[in-house]
Every structure is written in structure tokens, then in C-alpha cells.
């Protein structure tokens, strides 16, 4: 629909544009109902939270915001049954949700608190524990995706300057070329909008990113994440997030209730297909083996790690505290089994004139550290601050100086986190003995060295 960039000057003055199409475009930009200061494309967890956060920012109260979501937003009623899609919310994200008033909705419904995170290696005896054994720290919170989305949507509705459109799939973006151009957006139903700043929150396959022609580095892990809601044999104080590194990929159990946990089992696509086709009973049996079964260990690795333990003891470092194991899994919720492809992706540019990428549109990581959406929420908090700073300093909302600040600040945080997760993934995705040895030594030292662990946790918290 849009062919020639439309300037703000054209919107403000009656500059004569040639051709019927441009006359039409000018009319769109001049039509106050079609022009917005900010348009957010994509109403997933990140986009909706961003819309709500910007809508609640006092400094931006005179800005007109529009959230476009491609699918129809279904009126969610929280069922008794737990959803199989959950996220682990770190303390930074928790603060953001609290600040915008969405946490109370989640708290009124349900969530689980993780007080310890235990990570161990199936091929050696090494383990690492985050959080104190007295269960006093909070490591993270487990919340269902649907509940989180319902909570932020509820709060977003309270923002007077925010319009929300669902069933509004964007067909095409016309990005600015010159400084004063506006962004043109055409929906599949033919409707057109313009805005000063477009925020792309349209997920992994972001078409905003494609329109930006950003350099995107990506690869598939050749892994699928098999998810399910699992039921244990007994009720217990379920406050530990377990993660075991298996030869095919990590398997994680995130607490939901005293007897339920949410499973994310990363494995090869063939293996995933097979796991999905099993009966519940067979699946549970394989799951129990994966969690607590013994794998053939190399004697070299065992020897070296025990020598390492002695070495650490000599230097008065704590070794192998209380290590807990999850109880046996009894059953899985019927219909809760599903599989999702896993991949890595990072956009070298988060911004361009008039545009910024947020959340999975900009970066995608392996779910092994439960950081994916937290990076996106970190983007939201940062962008909210930076856009507020720009307007509070009377700059245009799309001022590149400020947007550059967003890009550099987030890349400074996201890239090391992604590299750490990627390194962890690569380190664990092998049975080759010297590497198994290295990684078990690595796990033990991180376990023993409290300051390093704190550093890892802090990085994961922002």
C-alpha cells in the first residue's frame, strides 16, 4: 500500500503530494484516528506488557498508543487444569510486573515460588545449587504464559491512551528513510495506520525485523522441547527447580503445586516425536529414567572429580551440600504433552530510524536457563525508561540518540547472557570424555565458589 515515505511535515502542512495514492496517504497521516505516536506490533507476553508499561508511564500520558495483535484475543477463564506452557520469572521481571500492577492478578490466581535451583550432570556426579538449602531465598517464580498474558491484558485495558486491536494481522510495514518520515502500516484487511515509532514485538519470525533488513544470526539446535504437566507420587514441599543434563539435552522440572511440576525436555526431533507417540504410562517410565537413572559414566571422569573434591576440601570450599532428588513421577496430565522447536537467534540491530525490536523478535535462546522471556521483559523495562527520558527531555519519541541507548544497554546485557547460555548448551551437548570432565570440574567449582554463583545469578536476574 505504502510506496513513498510520508513526512511529518506533510502531515502538518498541506504540502502538495502528487498522485492519487499519495493524496490518500496524506489523508491517513492527517487523520488523527489513524496516526499514533507509538504502535506496538504483536500482543504476546512481551508486546502486551510493553503496551501496558508505556501506557502507565506518566511521562508518556499524552502519547497515543496502539497495540496490534494478529490473533483473536480469547476471553481467558483460568481453568483448574494447569497449562503446559509456563515461564520462569526472575526477580527483575517480577519487579516490572509488580510496578505495572499486574502481579496482584497473578498472585490472586496462582504461581509457584522457586527457592532453589539444582542443576546436575547425568554423566558425572557434579551438581550446582542456587539458593540456600534453608529455602529462604527466592530464585524465581513459575507462572503460566496464559495467566501472565491475562494479567497484563487486564491492566492494559485500564490505560486511557492505549487502544488495543486484536485480529489485526499486519501485512506490510513501510519504514522511514529520512529523519522526518513516519512509519506506515497496512493490515491484511486493508486498513492503514501511521506512527512516529514502531515497536516490533512480533516474536521469533518477526516481520518487523525483516522489514528493517537487520542482520540476523540464527541456527536451529536440531532439538525440540517436549512439554507436559507431571504429577508426582506424593505431595511435598515443591520449591526446587530441577535440571539434569542428559546426553541429548537438558531436562527441567519447574514447580507448580505440591504435587505438580511443569516439564521441559529438550531432545532430538526424532526422540521428541517418539516421546509424543508413547502412551502416558510408557512416557512416565522413560521420564523417571531420564530424571534419576544412571548413565554409563567414564571411570576417568569419576576419578578426576573425586580428586577435585579433595582439592576443594583442602582449600576449605564447600563441596556437595545437601543434594535433593525429585520424587518419582506418577502420571502426566492427559493432553498436556506437546513439542516446540528450539533455536538460537540474535539480531545485530535492535533499532533503525523509527523502529525498535523487543523480546523474541530481537533475540531467542535455548530455554535451558529459563531466560528467554526474561530478556524480553528486561527490554521492556529499559525501553520504557529510555522513551520516558526522551520525552522528559522534550526529545521526539523516535529520537535516534535515545534509541541507540536502548540498543547498546540491552545488547550489553543480552549478548553475554545469550553467550553464557549458548556455551552451557554446547558444553553439555556432548559425551566426549575430556569435555564431560571439564564440565563436571566446572560445575563443582561454580558450586564451591559462592561469589561466582552470585555473579551468575545476578546476571540472570536483570
Amino acid at each position: 500500500m505504502f510506496k513513498i515515505p510520508l513526512t511529518k511535515a506533510a502531515r502538518l502542512n498541506s504540502v502538495v503530494l502528487k498522485g492519487p495514492r499519495l493524496v490518500l496517504l496524506r489523508a491517513i497521516a492527517q487523520d488523527a484516528t489513524k496516526h499514533y505516536d507509538i504502535i506496538i506490533a504483536g500482543g504476546g507476553m512481551v508486546g502486551t506488557t510493553l503496551a501496558c508499561t508505556l501506557g502507565k508511564n506518566q511521562i508518556l500520558s499524552n502519547k497515543k498508543l496502539l497495540l496490534l495483535e494478529g490473533s483473536k484475543i480469547k476471553q481467558q477463564s483460568i481453568s483448574d487444569k494447569y497449562s503446559n506452557r509456563v515461564v520462569s520469572i526472575n526477580l527483575g521481571t517480577h519487579k516490572l510486573l509488580n510496578d505495572i500492577g499486574a502481579w496482584s492478578f497473578i498472585a490472586k490466581n496462582r504461581f509457584a515460588t522457586v527457592r532453589r535451583m539444582q542443576v546436575w550432570d547425568a554423566l558425572s556426579d557434579s551438581s550446582i545449587t542456587f539458593g540456600s538449602s534453608e529455602h529462604t531465598d527466592t530464585v524465581s517464580y513459575i507462572v503460566e504464559n496464559d495467566l501472565l498474558l491475562a494479567a497484563v491484558s487486564e491492566e492494559a485495558k485500564k490505560c486511557n491512551n492505549l487502544s488495543i486491536m486484536d485480529g489485526a494481522k499486519v501485512k506490510n510495514y513501510q519504514l522511514p528513510i529520512a529523519q522526518d518520515d513516519v512509519v506506515g502500516i497496512t493490515l491484511e484487511n486493508g486498513e492503514c495506520f501511521t506512527c512516529d515509532l514502531l515497536l516490533g514485538c512480533d516474536g521469533v519470525n518477526s516481520s518487523v525485523r525483516k522489514a528493517m533488513e537487520a542482520d540476523y544470526l540464527s541456527w536451529s539446535y536440531n532439538q525440540m522441547g517436549v512439554v507436559a504437566t507431571v504429577r508426582f507420587c506424593e505431595k511435598f514441599n515443591n520449591e526446587i527447580a530441577w535440571q539434569r543434563f542428559l546426553p541429548n539435552g537438558p531436562i527441567a522440572l519447574l514447580p507448580l503445586t505440591e504435587e505438580l511440576s511443569s516439564l521441559v525436555w529438550s531432545t532430538t526431533p526424532d526422540e521428541a516425536k517418539r516421546l509424543l507417540s508413547l502412551t502416558n504410562q510408557d512416557f512416565v517410565a522413560e521420564l523417571n529414567t531420564a530424571i534419576s537413572g544412571t548413565f554409563s559414566r567414564s571411570s576417568l571422569v569419576l576419578q578426576a572429580t573425586s580428586a577435585f573434591d579433595t582439592f576443594l576440601r583442602m582449600f576449605n570450599c564447600s563441596v556437595d551440600q545437601v543434594r535433593a532428588y525429585p520424587p518419582k513421577v506418577q502420571d502426566i496430565d492427559s493432553g498436556s504433552r506437546a513439542a516446540f522447536p528450539l533455536g538460537f537467534g540474535h539480531s545485530s540491530q535492535y533499532i533503525r530510524q523509527g523502529v525498535a525490536l523487543v523480546g523474541d523478535a530481537a533475540h531467542r535462546i535455548h530455554p535451558l536457563a529459563g531466560q528467554g522471556v526474561n530478556l524480553g521483559f528486561g527490554d521492556v523495562a529499559c525501553l520504557n525508561k529510555i522513551l520516558g527520558d526522551a520525552v522528559y527531555s522534550a526529545s521526539a519519541i523516535s529520537n535516534m540518540d535515545y534509541l541507540k541507548g536502548y540498543e547498546s544497554e540491552r545488547q550489553k546485557h543480552n549478548v553475554p547472557t545469550m553467550l553464557a547460555v549458548e556455551a552451557l548448551h554446547r558444553l553439555y551437548n556432548t559425551k566426549f570424555t575430556p569435555i564431560v570432565l571439564l564440565r563436571s570440574l566446572g560445575l563443582q567449582t561454580t558450586h564451591a565458589l559462592e561469589p561466582i554463583k552470585r555473579a551468575i545469578r545476578n546476571q540472570a536476574a536483570v
Partner: protein, 285 residues
Amino acid sequence: MKKSKKWMTIDVSLNIRQLIDTNTNEFVTVFSLFSTVGTIDSEEVENFQKLAAEWWNPCGPLKPLHSMNKLRIPLVRDGLINEGCIAIVHVRTSTPLKGMSVLDVGCGGGILSEPLARLGAVVTGLDATSNALDVARKHAKDNNLAINYMCSSVEEFSQNNIGKFDAVVASEVVEHVTEKASFIAACSKCLKPSGSIFITTLNDTFLAHFLGVWMAENMLSLVPRGTHQSEKFVKPHQLQRILEDNGLRTKLMHGMIYNFVTNNWSWSSNRSINYAMHAVKNADL
């Protein structure tokens, strides 16, 4: 560094100033709108007129002035907030300067006046260059901003505007002014009791002369040649002294550092090139 020309004002008639170039003893007539002797040198008025067309290009020769807004807007805004001039309800909103009357001395094309107005201030912009003011008026109109632009020196303006302003901003002008004392006195005169003056300028140091002038004018063509005449630069303590003589107490003094590569300004404890000051007028003046 080229030797700057010295001008001597000999006669003032309506709208036309006649000047003698002291080097050649030639008469030069400069058409300008000021009718009485001000402290702005006519050679500089000419320089700025050449610039007028470039005012609103953020990547043009004045880009350091555009990017400096990132520091000087917060300087004015937070300075007034800290002085308790601003009602709490306006703090952390889109219009923190709501209702504040601000005088922008040496406003040029309005690079600083417009953002101040957008933050809710009632802005009066003064400049001696009518060409720049034409640019400023048009740009403000295009952006739906009501700013009162006037072609006048502050000395002249102050005579009929005693005690009218919550704040006076003189950003990057003091270094163009010959008679600093009467300039500051006039600024002070326009302020309400307890009003604030904000100044940014160049230091009178070797580094400022070298970097601020030579680099900027010769090497990087950021500001046109002849914009600055370094003998008019002023040291912070000298400026502070003049402010004190006019009943203005210094609240804050910061160095400012410009990154030529990224076109970015940042605050610094180093005041040897650019610096900013905030001073407050005595309550009983």
C-alpha cells in the same frame, strides 16, 4: 588562528548600524534590527545570519547544539525542580515546566526554546539576528508551539521586563558577548526573586581554545569559521564572580565533554573546555 577584526560602533540610527573596521578604517553598514548599542558584536551577527538556513538540520553544522539538548534540558528542568519552583503534580509528567516563564537569551533558530516550550514552559526567545528568528518563528508555527520570539538585546529587553521570569537561560552565548558584566546584570534584572539562571559556555583555557575552537572550526567543520572569538571566553570563577556581583548565587557547576565521533555530550568533573552553571537570584532582590 586568524586575527579577528575589531569593530567600533560610531553611530546608531534606526535599524542601520554604521561601523568602522579598525584595521582598514572603512565604513561598513550592517543592516540589522537593533536600534541601540548592545553587547553583541556585529561581525558575529553576520556569521550567524549565514547559518540561519542550517539551524534545524540535526546533522548539519550545528549538530553539537542539537545534541547538547540531552544535557541542557535536564539541567534546566532538574535545576528548577530542585529549587522547588515546580509543583509536585508536574514532576515526572510530560510537562514538568508547566507555567514556568523562561527567557532564552540568544535563542537563535530556537533549538533550545522549542524543547523548553514542549515541556510546558512559557518561552520568550531573544536574539539579535532577525534571520535566525525568522527560522525560529516558522519552525515553531509548523510544530504548533507558541513561543514569543523577539529581536532584541537582553540589555534593551530587560528595561521593560524587570522581575518577570522564573528562569533565564543563556546557553552558548556568553562567549560571544564583549560586555559580560552588563549582560549578566540584564539577565539578572529579568529574573523574579529566587529565579534561576542557567549558563553554558566555553572556558578560557588553552584546551578550550585548541579543541573548542580550532578543532571544531578548522578540523571538523562542525561550526562555521569565525563563530567563536576566543578572547571573549571566560573562566568559571570569573563568571561566578560576575554572577555574585549581580546577586546570583552559584548552585552548581559542571564540566561538559563532547565526543566528536559519536556527537554525544556527557557531564564531567573536567571543566577545562565546556562548562555549565546554575545560579539563583537572592530572594530579597
